[in-house]
Protein backbone atom coordinates (compact mmCIF):
# COMPACT_ATOMS: atom_id res chain seq x y z
CA UNK A 1 0.00 0.00 0.00
CA UNK A 2 1.33 3.21 -1.12
CA UNK A 3 1.78 5.58 1.66
CA UNK A 4 0.21 8.96 1.15
CA UNK A 5 2.67 11.75 1.09
CA UNK A 6 2.13 14.19 3.91
CA UNK A 7 1.50 17.66 2.71
CA UNK A 8 2.07 20.70 4.74
CA UNK A 9 -1.31 22.42 5.26
CA UNK A 10 -1.56 25.65 3.34
CA UNK A 11 -2.34 28.68 5.47
CA UNK A 12 -5.82 30.07 5.10
CA UNK A 13 -5.92 32.73 2.41
CA UNK A 14 -6.62 36.18 3.81
CA UNK A 15 -9.70 37.82 2.36
CA UNK A 16 -9.47 41.26 0.78
CA UNK A 17 -11.44 42.81 3.64
CA UNK A 18 -9.09 41.32 6.20
CA UNK A 19 -6.15 42.66 4.18
CA UNK A 20 -7.70 46.10 4.11
CA UNK A 21 -8.44 45.96 7.83
CA UNK A 22 -4.83 45.03 8.55
CA UNK A 23 -3.52 47.73 6.23
CA UNK A 24 -5.76 50.30 7.88
CA UNK A 25 -4.53 49.20 11.26
CA UNK A 26 -0.91 49.49 10.12
CA UNK A 27 -1.53 52.92 8.62
CA UNK A 28 -3.43 54.02 11.70
CA UNK A 29 -6.51 54.81 9.65
CA UNK A 30 -10.09 54.40 10.78
CA UNK A 31 -11.13 50.89 9.72
CA UNK A 32 -14.75 51.95 9.39
CA UNK A 33 -13.86 54.28 6.51
CA UNK A 34 -11.93 51.64 4.62
CA UNK A 35 -14.29 48.77 5.28
CA UNK A 36 -17.59 50.62 4.89
CA UNK A 37 -18.60 49.86 8.45
CA UNK A 38 -21.44 52.07 9.69
CA UNK A 39 -20.52 54.78 12.12
CA UNK A 40 -22.99 55.94 14.70
CA UNK A 41 -23.20 59.00 16.88
CA UNK A 42 -25.92 58.87 19.44
CA UNK A 43 -27.54 61.03 22.06
CA UNK A 44 -30.91 60.70 23.84
CA UNK A 45 -32.43 63.19 21.36
CA UNK A 46 -30.84 62.23 18.07
CA UNK A 47 -28.88 59.61 16.18
CA UNK A 48 -26.54 60.20 13.28
CA UNK A 49 -25.74 57.14 11.22
CA UNK A 50 -23.16 57.26 8.45
CA UNK A 51 -22.56 54.72 5.70
CA UNK A 52 -26.02 53.17 5.81
CA UNK A 53 -27.57 51.04 3.10
CA UNK A 54 -31.15 52.20 3.40
CA UNK A 55 -34.15 52.24 5.69
CA UNK A 56 -35.84 48.91 6.22
CA UNK A 57 -38.61 49.96 8.52
CA UNK A 58 -39.83 53.33 9.62
CA UNK A 59 -42.41 53.92 12.35
CA UNK A 60 -42.71 56.37 15.21
CA UNK A 61 -41.44 53.78 17.68
CA UNK A 62 -38.86 51.91 15.65
CA UNK A 63 -36.54 52.57 12.78
CA UNK A 64 -34.47 49.78 11.26
CA UNK A 65 -31.61 50.71 9.01
CA UNK A 66 -29.55 48.39 6.87
CA UNK A 67 -25.77 48.64 6.89
CA UNK A 68 -22.84 46.43 5.98
CA UNK A 69 -23.01 43.14 7.95
CA UNK A 70 -25.45 44.58 10.47
CA UNK A 71 -28.90 45.99 10.88
CA UNK A 72 -29.15 48.97 13.20
CA UNK A 73 -32.37 49.16 15.14
CA UNK A 74 -33.31 52.37 16.90
CA UNK A 75 -36.18 52.25 19.35
CA UNK A 76 -37.87 55.10 21.09
CA UNK A 77 -40.80 57.48 20.81
CA UNK A 78 -41.78 60.10 18.25
CA UNK A 79 -38.92 59.03 16.03
CA UNK A 80 -38.62 60.73 12.68
CA UNK A 81 -36.11 61.09 9.93
CA UNK A 82 -34.52 64.50 10.32
CA UNK A 83 -32.58 64.18 7.10
CA UNK A 84 -31.57 61.45 4.75
CA UNK A 85 -28.99 61.41 2.04
CA UNK A 86 -26.92 58.83 0.24
CA UNK A 87 -24.27 58.64 2.95
CA UNK A 88 -25.91 59.71 6.16
CA UNK A 89 -29.09 59.40 8.11
CA UNK A 90 -30.22 61.71 10.87
CA UNK A 91 -32.90 60.51 13.25
CA UNK A 92 -34.58 62.75 15.80
CA UNK A 93 -36.89 61.90 18.68
CA UNK A 94 -36.72 60.32 22.13
CA UNK A 95 -34.20 57.56 21.62
CA UNK A 96 -34.58 54.68 24.07
CA UNK A 97 -32.21 52.07 22.62
CA UNK A 98 -29.88 51.42 19.72
CA UNK A 99 -29.17 47.84 18.78
CA UNK A 100 -26.84 46.25 16.25
CA UNK A 101 -28.19 43.01 14.86
CA UNK A 102 -25.65 40.89 12.98
CA UNK A 103 -27.10 39.42 9.83
Amino acid sequence: MKKKKWKKPRPRQESLRECLARAAEELELSASTVLDIPELECSPREVLLERHHGVLEYTDERIRVAARDVTVEIRGMELRLGAMSQGALHIRGQVAAVEFIRS
Binding site: G54, V55, Y58, R80, L81, G82, A83, M84, S85, Q86
Partner: protein, 404 residues
Protein backbone atom coordinates in the same frame (compact mmCIF):
# COMPACT_ATOMS: atom_id res chain seq x y z
CA UNK B 1 -30.59 79.10 10.97
CA UNK B 2 -27.87 79.27 8.29
CA UNK B 3 -28.99 75.97 6.79
CA UNK B 4 -32.58 77.24 6.79
CA UNK B 5 -31.46 80.36 4.95
CA UNK B 6 -29.54 78.35 2.37
CA UNK B 7 -32.55 76.08 1.85
CA UNK B 8 -34.79 79.11 1.48
CA UNK B 9 -32.49 80.58 -1.17
CA UNK B 10 -32.38 77.27 -3.03
CA UNK B 11 -36.12 76.68 -2.62
CA UNK B 12 -37.84 73.66 -1.09
CA UNK B 13 -41.02 71.65 -1.58
CA UNK B 14 -42.96 69.81 1.11
CA UNK B 15 -44.39 66.66 -0.44
CA UNK B 16 -46.77 63.97 0.69
CA UNK B 17 -45.75 60.49 -0.47
CA UNK B 18 -48.42 57.84 -0.53
CA UNK B 19 -47.77 54.20 -1.36
CA UNK B 20 -47.16 50.69 -0.08
CA UNK B 21 -43.34 50.66 -0.11
CA UNK B 22 -42.44 54.06 1.17
CA UNK B 23 -39.16 52.92 2.78
CA UNK B 24 -37.98 51.55 -0.54
CA UNK B 25 -38.97 54.76 -2.23
CA UNK B 26 -36.98 56.76 0.29
CA UNK B 27 -33.97 54.47 -0.12
CA UNK B 28 -34.14 54.80 -3.87
CA UNK B 29 -34.24 58.57 -3.59
CA UNK B 30 -31.27 58.60 -1.21
CA UNK B 31 -29.27 56.33 -3.55
CA UNK B 32 -29.96 58.70 -6.42
CA UNK B 33 -28.64 61.62 -4.44
CA UNK B 34 -32.00 63.20 -3.67
CA UNK B 35 -31.55 64.55 -0.17
CA UNK B 36 -34.67 65.11 1.92
CA UNK B 37 -35.35 66.14 5.45
CA UNK B 38 -38.05 66.46 8.09
CA UNK B 39 -39.66 63.14 7.21
CA UNK B 40 -42.86 62.50 9.19
CA UNK B 41 -45.03 59.44 9.06
CA UNK B 42 -48.67 60.48 9.05
CA UNK B 43 -50.14 57.04 8.41
CA UNK B 44 -48.72 53.57 7.62
CA UNK B 45 -48.84 54.42 3.94
CA UNK B 46 -48.38 58.19 4.07
CA UNK B 47 -45.19 60.16 4.69
CA UNK B 48 -44.44 63.85 4.43
CA UNK B 49 -40.93 64.99 3.53
CA UNK B 50 -39.17 68.11 2.31
CA UNK B 51 -36.91 68.15 -0.74
CA UNK B 52 -35.07 70.73 -2.78
CA UNK B 53 -36.52 71.84 -6.09
CA UNK B 54 -33.96 69.84 -8.07
CA UNK B 55 -34.75 66.76 -6.00
CA UNK B 56 -38.44 67.22 -6.50
CA UNK B 57 -37.98 67.27 -10.28
CA UNK B 58 -36.24 63.87 -10.11
CA UNK B 59 -38.81 62.35 -7.73
CA UNK B 60 -41.40 61.69 -10.41
CA UNK B 61 -39.06 59.26 -12.20
CA UNK B 62 -39.22 56.96 -9.19
CA UNK B 63 -42.86 57.35 -8.28
CA UNK B 64 -43.97 55.12 -11.15
CA UNK B 65 -41.34 52.50 -10.39
CA UNK B 66 -42.27 52.32 -6.71
CA UNK B 67 -46.02 52.66 -7.28
CA UNK B 68 -46.12 55.76 -5.11
CA UNK B 69 -47.88 59.05 -5.56
CA UNK B 70 -46.37 62.40 -4.65
CA UNK B 71 -48.40 65.54 -3.90
CA UNK B 72 -47.14 69.01 -3.11
CA UNK B 73 -48.21 70.27 0.30
CA UNK B 74 -46.22 73.48 0.47
CA UNK B 75 -43.49 75.23 -1.47
CA UNK B 76 -41.26 78.03 -0.32
CA UNK B 77 -38.09 79.78 -1.37
CA UNK B 78 -36.56 82.45 -3.51
CA UNK B 79 -37.00 80.62 -6.86
CA UNK B 80 -40.78 80.53 -6.36
CA UNK B 81 -40.95 84.22 -5.55
CA UNK B 82 -38.73 85.01 -8.49
CA UNK B 83 -40.92 82.92 -10.75
CA UNK B 84 -44.00 84.72 -9.45
CA UNK B 85 -42.43 88.15 -9.90
CA UNK B 86 -40.85 87.39 -13.25
CA UNK B 87 -43.77 88.65 -15.40
CA UNK B 88 -43.82 92.01 -13.57
CA UNK B 89 -41.75 93.98 -16.04
CA UNK B 90 -42.36 97.33 -14.36
CA UNK B 91 -41.06 96.01 -11.04
CA UNK B 92 -37.86 94.67 -12.57
CA UNK B 93 -37.48 97.82 -14.64
CA UNK B 94 -37.91 99.95 -11.51
CA UNK B 95 -35.39 97.87 -9.60
CA UNK B 96 -32.96 98.19 -12.50
CA UNK B 97 -33.48 101.95 -12.68
CA UNK B 98 -33.00 102.22 -8.88
CA UNK B 99 -29.81 100.19 -9.03
CA UNK B 100 -28.57 102.31 -11.93
CA UNK B 101 -29.47 105.54 -10.12
CA UNK B 102 -27.69 104.35 -6.98
CA UNK B 103 -24.66 103.37 -9.00
CA UNK B 104 -24.66 106.75 -10.70
CA UNK B 105 -25.15 108.54 -7.36
CA UNK B 106 -22.06 106.89 -5.94
CA UNK B 107 -20.00 108.53 -8.70
CA UNK B 108 -20.60 111.98 -7.16
CA UNK B 109 -19.74 113.71 -3.93
CA UNK B 110 -22.79 114.67 -1.94
CA UNK B 111 -21.40 115.80 1.39
CA UNK B 112 -18.45 118.09 2.03
CA UNK B 113 -17.64 118.25 5.70
CA UNK B 114 -15.04 120.32 7.52
CA UNK B 115 -13.73 119.30 10.94
CA UNK B 116 -10.90 120.32 13.23
CA UNK B 117 -11.54 124.08 13.42
CA UNK B 118 -14.12 126.64 14.49
CA UNK B 119 -17.09 127.82 12.41
CA UNK B 120 -15.33 130.81 10.87
CA UNK B 121 -12.48 128.70 9.58
CA UNK B 122 -14.90 125.99 8.50
CA UNK B 123 -16.73 128.51 6.33
CA UNK B 124 -13.45 129.73 4.89
CA UNK B 125 -12.26 126.19 4.18
CA UNK B 126 -15.56 125.39 2.47
CA UNK B 127 -15.36 128.55 0.36
CA UNK B 128 -11.80 127.79 -0.73
CA UNK B 129 -12.66 124.15 -1.41
CA UNK B 130 -15.55 125.28 -3.58
CA UNK B 131 -13.22 127.57 -5.49
CA UNK B 132 -10.89 124.61 -5.99
CA UNK B 133 -13.78 122.58 -7.42
CA UNK B 134 -14.82 120.58 -4.38
CA UNK B 135 -18.54 121.09 -3.75
CA UNK B 136 -21.58 118.85 -3.25
CA UNK B 137 -22.74 117.35 -6.52
CA UNK B 138 -19.39 117.33 -8.30
CA UNK B 139 -18.11 114.14 -9.92
CA UNK B 140 -15.57 112.21 -7.87
CA UNK B 141 -13.18 111.84 -10.80
CA UNK B 142 -13.07 115.63 -11.22
CA UNK B 143 -11.75 116.23 -7.72
CA UNK B 144 -8.07 115.98 -6.97
CA UNK B 145 -7.80 116.02 -3.19
CA UNK B 146 -4.12 117.00 -3.29
CA UNK B 147 -4.93 119.95 -5.54
CA UNK B 148 -7.74 121.11 -3.24
CA UNK B 149 -5.46 120.84 -0.24
CA UNK B 150 -2.74 122.89 -1.95
CA UNK B 151 -5.27 125.52 -3.04
CA UNK B 152 -6.59 125.98 0.51
CA UNK B 153 -3.10 126.17 1.99
CA UNK B 154 -1.89 128.58 -0.68
CA UNK B 155 -4.83 130.96 -0.53
CA UNK B 156 -5.18 131.24 3.22
CA UNK B 157 -2.75 131.89 6.03
CA UNK B 158 -5.22 130.81 8.68
CA UNK B 159 -4.57 127.09 8.40
CA UNK B 160 -1.63 125.18 9.77
CA UNK B 161 -2.72 121.79 8.44
CA UNK B 162 -5.25 120.72 5.80
CA UNK B 163 -6.09 117.22 4.57
CA UNK B 164 -8.81 116.26 2.11
CA UNK B 165 -10.13 112.70 2.44
CA UNK B 166 -12.70 111.27 0.07
CA UNK B 167 -14.66 108.32 1.42
CA UNK B 168 -17.44 107.04 -0.79
CA UNK B 169 -19.64 110.00 -1.63
CA UNK B 170 -18.37 112.04 1.26
CA UNK B 171 -15.45 114.46 1.28
CA UNK B 172 -14.00 115.32 4.62
CA UNK B 173 -11.71 118.29 5.00
CA UNK B 174 -9.58 118.13 8.12
CA UNK B 175 -8.32 121.64 8.79
CA UNK B 176 -6.46 122.95 11.80
CA UNK B 177 -6.30 126.68 12.40
CA UNK B 178 -3.05 128.52 12.90
CA UNK B 179 -2.62 129.79 16.45
CA UNK B 180 -1.44 133.36 16.75
CA UNK B 181 2.02 133.38 18.21
CA UNK B 182 3.01 136.39 20.28
CA UNK B 183 5.42 138.75 18.62
CA UNK B 184 8.80 137.70 19.86
CA UNK B 185 11.79 139.95 20.26
CA UNK B 186 14.87 138.11 19.00
CA UNK B 187 17.20 137.00 21.81
CA UNK B 188 20.12 138.99 20.41
CA UNK B 189 18.10 142.25 20.33
CA UNK B 190 18.09 144.52 23.41
CA UNK B 191 14.74 144.93 25.13
CA UNK B 192 12.99 145.88 28.38
CA UNK B 193 10.45 143.99 30.43
CA UNK B 194 7.34 146.16 30.73
CA UNK B 195 4.27 145.65 32.96
CA UNK B 196 1.19 144.68 30.97
CA UNK B 197 -1.24 145.13 33.87
CA UNK B 198 -1.71 147.09 37.08
CA UNK B 199 -0.90 145.63 40.50
CA UNK B 200 1.59 145.16 43.28
CA UNK B 201 4.75 143.17 42.61
CA UNK B 202 4.74 140.07 44.74
CA UNK B 203 7.98 138.59 43.45
CA UNK B 204 10.50 139.46 40.77
CA UNK B 205 13.32 137.25 39.54
CA UNK B 206 15.67 138.98 37.12
CA UNK B 207 17.56 136.76 34.71
CA UNK B 208 19.08 139.51 32.59
CA UNK B 209 18.97 143.28 32.75
CA UNK B 210 18.65 145.83 35.49
CA UNK B 211 15.65 145.80 37.85
CA UNK B 212 13.70 149.06 38.00
CA UNK B 213 11.13 147.82 40.49
CA UNK B 214 11.22 145.52 43.46
CA UNK B 215 8.79 143.34 45.38
CA UNK B 216 6.06 145.42 47.07
CA UNK B 217 6.15 148.23 44.48
CA UNK B 218 2.95 149.29 42.79
CA UNK B 219 3.05 149.23 39.02
CA UNK B 220 0.68 150.40 36.32
CA UNK B 221 0.47 149.12 32.78
CA UNK B 222 3.47 150.35 30.76
CA UNK B 223 5.93 150.69 33.66
CA UNK B 224 9.38 149.33 32.95
CA UNK B 225 10.04 146.48 35.33
CA UNK B 226 13.48 145.49 34.10
CA UNK B 227 15.52 147.60 31.74
CA UNK B 228 17.86 146.22 29.11
CA UNK B 229 20.16 149.29 29.26
CA UNK B 230 23.06 148.59 31.59
CA UNK B 231 25.84 150.87 32.80
CA UNK B 232 29.13 149.28 33.81
CA UNK B 233 31.46 150.40 36.63
CA UNK B 234 33.52 152.20 33.96
CA UNK B 235 30.31 154.01 32.96
CA UNK B 236 30.08 152.23 29.65
CA UNK B 237 26.55 151.87 28.41
CA UNK B 238 25.56 148.64 26.80
CA UNK B 239 22.22 147.06 26.03
CA UNK B 240 21.04 143.54 26.81
CA UNK B 241 17.99 141.39 26.20
CA UNK B 242 16.23 141.76 29.56
CA UNK B 243 14.47 138.74 31.01
CA UNK B 244 12.55 138.31 34.27
CA UNK B 245 9.79 136.35 35.97
CA UNK B 246 7.42 138.83 37.60
CA UNK B 247 4.39 137.89 39.68
CA UNK B 248 1.83 140.58 40.39
CA UNK B 249 -0.97 140.71 42.87
CA UNK B 250 -3.95 142.17 41.02
CA UNK B 251 -7.54 143.09 41.81
CA UNK B 252 -10.44 142.88 39.37
CA UNK B 253 -14.12 143.69 39.62
CA UNK B 254 -16.65 141.97 37.39
CA UNK B 255 -20.23 143.15 37.23
CA UNK B 256 -23.48 141.66 36.09
CA UNK B 257 -27.03 142.95 35.75
CA UNK B 258 -30.19 140.93 35.22
CA UNK B 259 -33.89 141.78 35.17
CA UNK B 260 -35.97 140.57 38.08
CA UNK B 261 -38.91 139.73 35.81
CA UNK B 262 -38.36 137.48 32.84
CA UNK B 263 -40.75 136.08 30.30
CA UNK B 264 -40.81 132.29 30.21
CA UNK B 265 -42.30 129.85 27.75
CA UNK B 266 -44.68 127.28 29.21
CA UNK B 267 -45.27 124.44 26.73
CA UNK B 268 -48.92 123.60 26.29
CA UNK B 269 -48.11 120.10 25.11
CA UNK B 270 -49.52 120.63 21.64
CA UNK B 271 -47.19 120.31 18.68
CA UNK B 272 -47.30 119.78 14.96
CA UNK B 273 -44.68 118.12 12.81
CA UNK B 274 -43.83 118.99 9.25
CA UNK B 275 -41.52 116.73 7.28
CA UNK B 276 -40.03 117.35 3.90
CA UNK B 277 -37.32 115.98 1.68
CA UNK B 278 -34.63 118.26 0.33
CA UNK B 279 -33.14 117.14 -2.96
CA UNK B 280 -30.61 119.65 -4.16
CA UNK B 281 -32.45 122.97 -3.91
CA UNK B 282 -35.92 121.42 -4.13
CA UNK B 283 -38.19 120.73 -1.18
CA UNK B 284 -40.78 117.99 -1.31
CA UNK B 285 -43.44 118.26 1.38
CA UNK B 286 -44.30 114.99 3.09
CA UNK B 287 -46.76 116.41 5.60
CA UNK B 288 -48.64 119.68 5.57
CA UNK B 289 -48.87 122.17 8.41
CA UNK B 290 -50.51 125.59 8.10
CA UNK B 291 -48.24 128.62 8.00
CA UNK B 292 -49.03 129.86 11.53
CA UNK B 293 -50.14 126.75 13.40
CA UNK B 294 -50.24 128.39 16.87
CA UNK B 295 -50.27 131.97 18.19
CA UNK B 296 -46.95 131.40 20.00
CA UNK B 297 -44.66 128.58 19.02
CA UNK B 298 -41.06 127.47 18.71
CA UNK B 299 -39.68 125.68 15.67
CA UNK B 300 -37.26 122.84 16.34
CA UNK B 301 -35.53 121.68 13.17
CA UNK B 302 -33.78 118.37 12.69
CA UNK B 303 -31.88 117.62 9.52
CA UNK B 304 -30.89 114.08 8.62
CA UNK B 305 -28.75 113.14 5.65
CA UNK B 306 -30.01 109.89 4.18
CA UNK B 307 -27.23 107.36 3.74
CA UNK B 308 -26.95 104.06 1.98
CA UNK B 309 -23.93 103.13 4.08
CA UNK B 310 -21.79 105.18 6.44
CA UNK B 311 -19.62 106.48 3.59
CA UNK B 312 -22.29 106.53 0.90
CA UNK B 313 -24.66 109.41 1.56
CA UNK B 314 -27.55 110.03 -0.79
CA UNK B 315 -28.27 113.49 -2.20
CA UNK B 316 -31.42 113.60 -0.10
CA UNK B 317 -32.01 115.18 3.29
CA UNK B 318 -34.97 114.52 5.54
CA UNK B 319 -35.91 117.64 7.44
CA UNK B 320 -38.28 117.52 10.38
CA UNK B 321 -39.77 120.76 11.73
CA UNK B 322 -41.53 120.51 15.06
CA UNK B 323 -43.87 123.39 15.93
CA UNK B 324 -44.15 123.39 19.71
CA UNK B 325 -46.81 125.65 21.15
CA UNK B 326 -46.14 127.62 24.30
CA UNK B 327 -47.81 130.23 26.46
CA UNK B 328 -45.72 133.26 27.46
CA UNK B 329 -45.71 133.83 31.20
CA UNK B 330 -43.97 136.44 33.32
CA UNK B 331 -41.78 134.94 35.96
CA UNK B 332 -40.45 136.89 38.90
CA UNK B 333 -36.90 135.89 39.72
CA UNK B 334 -36.43 135.58 43.47
CA UNK B 335 -33.41 137.08 45.15
CA UNK B 336 -31.99 133.64 45.89
CA UNK B 337 -32.30 132.53 42.26
CA UNK B 338 -30.91 135.82 40.96
CA UNK B 339 -27.88 135.52 43.24
CA UNK B 340 -27.26 131.94 42.21
CA UNK B 341 -27.58 132.67 38.48
CA UNK B 342 -25.46 135.82 38.57
CA UNK B 343 -22.75 134.21 40.65
CA UNK B 344 -22.55 131.37 38.18
CA UNK B 345 -22.40 133.81 35.27
CA UNK B 346 -19.69 135.87 36.93
CA UNK B 347 -17.62 132.75 37.60
CA UNK B 348 -17.90 131.85 33.94
CA UNK B 349 -16.94 135.39 32.95
CA UNK B 350 -13.94 135.24 35.26
CA UNK B 351 -12.83 131.97 33.70
CA UNK B 352 -13.19 133.55 30.27
CA UNK B 353 -11.47 136.89 30.96
CA UNK B 354 -8.69 135.73 33.28
CA UNK B 355 -7.97 132.17 32.28
CA UNK B 356 -4.40 132.06 33.61
CA UNK B 357 -4.91 134.02 36.81
CA UNK B 358 -4.60 132.27 40.15
CA UNK B 359 -7.51 133.51 42.27
CA UNK B 360 -6.51 134.13 45.87
CA UNK B 361 -9.77 135.47 47.26
CA UNK B 362 -13.16 136.50 45.96
CA UNK B 363 -16.07 138.51 47.24
CA UNK B 364 -19.53 138.35 45.71
CA UNK B 365 -22.11 141.04 46.30
CA UNK B 366 -25.65 141.25 45.03
CA UNK B 367 -28.07 144.15 45.17
CA UNK B 368 -31.63 143.01 44.52
CA UNK B 369 -33.96 145.79 43.35
CA UNK B 370 -36.96 145.84 41.06
CA UNK B 371 -36.68 145.89 38.05
CA UNK B 372 -32.96 144.96 37.97
CA UNK B 373 -30.64 143.00 40.19
CA UNK B 374 -26.98 144.03 40.15
CA UNK B 375 -24.07 141.95 41.29
CA UNK B 376 -20.33 142.30 41.42
CA UNK B 377 -17.48 139.90 41.98
CA UNK B 378 -14.25 141.27 43.37
CA UNK B 379 -11.31 138.96 43.01
CA UNK B 380 -7.76 139.15 44.17
CA UNK B 381 -5.42 137.27 41.84
CA UNK B 382 -1.84 136.32 41.41
CA UNK B 383 -0.74 136.74 37.81
CA UNK B 384 2.38 136.53 35.72
CA UNK B 385 3.17 139.94 34.28
CA UNK B 386 5.71 141.49 31.96
CA UNK B 387 6.08 141.67 28.20
CA UNK B 388 9.20 142.29 26.18
CA UNK B 389 9.50 145.63 24.51
CA UNK B 390 12.32 147.12 22.50
CA UNK B 391 14.56 149.39 24.53
CA UNK B 392 12.58 152.59 24.90
CA UNK B 393 13.97 155.97 23.94
CA UNK B 394 13.08 157.40 27.35
CA UNK B 395 15.13 154.81 29.15
CA UNK B 396 18.02 155.29 26.76
CA UNK B 397 17.79 159.06 27.10
CA UNK B 398 17.69 158.82 30.89
CA UNK B 399 20.74 156.55 30.86
CA UNK B 400 22.61 158.89 28.51
CA UNK B 401 21.78 161.85 30.75
CA UNK B 402 23.04 159.85 33.71
CA UNK B 403 26.29 159.13 31.83
CA UNK B 404 26.79 162.76 31.05
Amino acid sequence: MLLGLINYVRGWVRVEIRGAAIERFLNLCAQNDIAFWDVRRLAPDVVQATVHIQGFRQLRHFTRRMMCSVHIVKKRGVPFYTHRLLPRVALWGGALVCAGALLAATRFLWVVDVTGCDHTLQAEALRLAEEAGLRPGVGKNKVDSEEVRSYIMTNSDNFSFVAVNINGSQAQILAYGRKETPEMVPVDEPCDVVADKDGIIESIQIKAGLGMKQAGDTVVQGDILVTGTMVSALEEVYEVHAMADVTLRTWHTLEQVMPTTVQTKVPTGREKVRRFLVIGSRRIQLSFVEKEPFPCYDIIMEEKQLKLTENTPLPVKLVTERYVEYTPKDYVVTQETAEKVMEQRLEELLELTLPEAQVESRQFQCQYEVPFARSSLQVECREQAGVLQEVSGISRKTTEEGND
